[in-house]
C-alpha cells in the first residue's frame, strides 16, 4: 500500500465510520485488511484500495468492518453494571413509577456481551422490576457483529472473560462447543445496525445510554457531535455511562459528571433530578 493509498483509506474510514486512524497505523491497516484482500482475490492491500476507489466498488462496508475494533467481553470493567444495579435502576424505577417503562440504549453493542450483561443485571434484580417494561436497544456499525449478537452464541473463551460462573450456568446452555444465552434474555434485547455519525433522532428517548469504548476512536468534533445528539435523546433525569478512558469534560457541557460515581453522567439541564437512593448521589440541578 502506497502512502497515497493509506491516505485515501484513512479519509474513507473517517467519513464512513468516524474512525480516526493516525498516520503511524499503516501496519494495523495492512494486517487487518490483508485477509479481506486475499478473500476477494487481491494480491495485496494496495490492490484492494485501488478497487475501493472505483465508483462501482461495494467493498467499503467490509473494509470498515475489518478496521473496526470489536473487542468486548461480559461485564467489562464491572463498575458500570454495579452502577446500573445499585444507583441508576433504583433511581429510574422510582422516577418512572407511573409510566412503568425504562428504555436503555447500548450504542456500541459489538457482538452482544454488553447488552446481555445489562439484561442479566436486570434479571438478577428480580422482583424489584416487577410490573416494569424495560427495553434494551443495542446498536452497532458492524452488521456481522450484530448477527453474532442476535444468535447469542459464544466460545468457551468468551464466556470465561468477565462472566461469573454462576451466571454462566444460570443463563447459558451448552450447544456443542459453544455456549448460547437463554432465549428470554435474547428477547430482552433488540439489535439494530446504526452509524453514530448519522442522525439517530428517530430512535426516541432513552433513560439510560451506555456509550462505552467508542468515543475513543473518534476525533474531537465527532465526540462532541455524538455526545450532544445523545443528550437530545434523553430526558432531563436520564443517565449516561461512558467507558473508563472516556469523559465529557472539556468536550461538551451537555452532560455533567456525577460527583461520586466515576463514569456516570447526567444531562446538565436536569431540572428535576431523579430521586436517588443515597443523599450523596443527588445531582446538581
Amino acid at each position: 500500500m502506497t502512502p497515497e493509498d493509506f491516505d485515501y483509506l484513512r479519509k474513507m474510514l473517517r467519513e464512513r465510520s468516524g474512525l480516526v486512524l493516525s498516520v503511524d497505523k499503516q501496519y494495523l491497516a495492512e494486517s487487518r485488511l490483508l485477509p479481506l484482500a486475499r478473500r476477494h482475490g487481491f494480491a495485496s492491500v494496495g490492490e484492494l484500495v485501488a478497487q475501493l476507489k472505483m465508483p462501482s466498488c461495494t467493498l467499503a462496508t467490509e473494509v470498515v468492518d475489518a478496521m473496526t475494533t470489536n473487542e468486548t467481553f461480559f461485564f467489562r470493567d464491572k463498575i458500570p453494571f454495579e452502577l446500573l444495579r445499585d444507583s441508576v435502576m433504583p433511581a429510574l424505577l422510582a422516577a418512572r413509577s407511573h409510566t412503568k417503562r425504562v428504555r436503555i440504549w447500548c450504542t456500541a453493542a459489538s457482538t452482544g456481551q454488553e447488552p446481555y450483561s445489562i439484561a442479566m443485571t436486570l434479571r438478577e434484580m428480580g422482583a424489584r422490576l416487577a410490573g416494569f417494561q424495560v427495553d434494551i436497544l443495542a446498536t452497532d456499525l458492524v452488521v456481522g457483529a450484530l448477527d453474532r449478537a442476535r444468535n447469542g452464541l459464544y466460545t468457551q473463551f468468551e464466556v470465561q472473560r468477565g462472566l461469573p460462573i454462576q451466571l454462566l450456568i444460570k443463563y447459558f446452555t451448552k450447544v456443542g462447543e459453544m455456549w448460547q444465552i437463554a432465549p428470554e434474555l435474547r428477547a430482552m434485547v433488540q439489535f439494530r445496525p446504526l452509524n453514530l455519525l448519522y442522525d439517530f433522532s428517530t430512535l426516541g428517548l432513552f433513560d439510560l445510554v451506555f456509550c462505552r469504548n467508542v468515543l475513543i476512536y473518534f476525533d474531537q468534533s465527532t465526540k462532541v457531535s455524538v455526545l450532544d445528539r445523545i443528550a437530545r435523546q434523553m430526558p432531563d433525569d436520564g443517565f449516561l455511562i461512558l467507558g473508563a478512558a472516556e469523559t465529557v469534560v472539556g468536550l461538551t457541557e451537555a452532560f455533567t459528571p456525577h460527583p461520586d460515581k466515576r463514569g456516570l453522567y447526567r444531562p446538565s439541564n436536569a431540572g428535576a433530578p431523579a430521586r436517588l437512593g443515597a443523599p450523596k448521589l443527588a445531582v446538581r440541578a
Binding site: Q156, F157, Q160, R161, G162, P164, I165, Q166, L168, I169, T173, K174
Partner: protein, 121 residues
C-alpha cells in the same frame, strides 16, 4: 503476598499455572493430587487454590468436600481448573463449595479474570 496452591497431576499444567500466578504476584505451592493438597492445607491454608478435577488417589471434587469440612477450610477461594466443561460438573463443583470455575484450556487473561471475580486480585 498471597499463596496459591496449584493442584494438578500434570507437571506441564502446574508449570503454566505457576508462571501465570507468579506474574500476578502469588507465592505458589504445588500438589499432584487431592491427598497431597490436603497435606499442604493441614500445614498451612493458602488464600487460593487452583484445582484440577481428575487426578489419581483423590480427585479435586473429593478434596474440595474434605477441605470445606476442615477447621478454617471455608476460607480459601477455590477455583476449579478442569477439562470437565459441562453444566452438571460446574453445578456439582459450586454445590461442593467452589468459588469459580475455569474450563481448560486457559490463559493468563482467564485466570486473572476469575481470580478478580472472587476478590483474590
Amino acid at each position: 503476598m498471597k499463596t496459591c496452591l496449584v493442584v494438578d497431576d500434570s507437571s506441564v499444567i502446574r508449570k503454566v499455572a505457576r508462571r501465570i500466578l507468579e506474574s500476578l504476584d502469588f507465592k505458589i505451592v504445588e500438589a499432584e493430587d487431592g491427598e497431597q493438597a490436603l497435606d499442604a492445607c493441614r500445614q498451612q491454608l493458602p488464600e487460593a487454590i487452583l484445582l484440577d478435577w481428575n487426578m489419581p488417589k483423590m480427585d479435586g471434587y473429593e478434596f474440595l468436600r474434605m477441605l470445606r469440612r476442615m477447621p478454617g477450610g471455608d476460607k480459601p477461594k477455590v477455583v476449579f481448573c478442569t477439562t470437565e466443561n459441562d453444566v452438571a460438573h460446574i453445578a456439582r463443583a459450586l454445590h461442593a463449595g467452589a468459588n469459580e470455575y475455569i474450563m481448560k484450556p486457559f490463559d493468563k487473561e482467564i485466570v486473572e479474570a476469575k481470580f478478580q471475580e472472587v476478590g483474590l486480585i
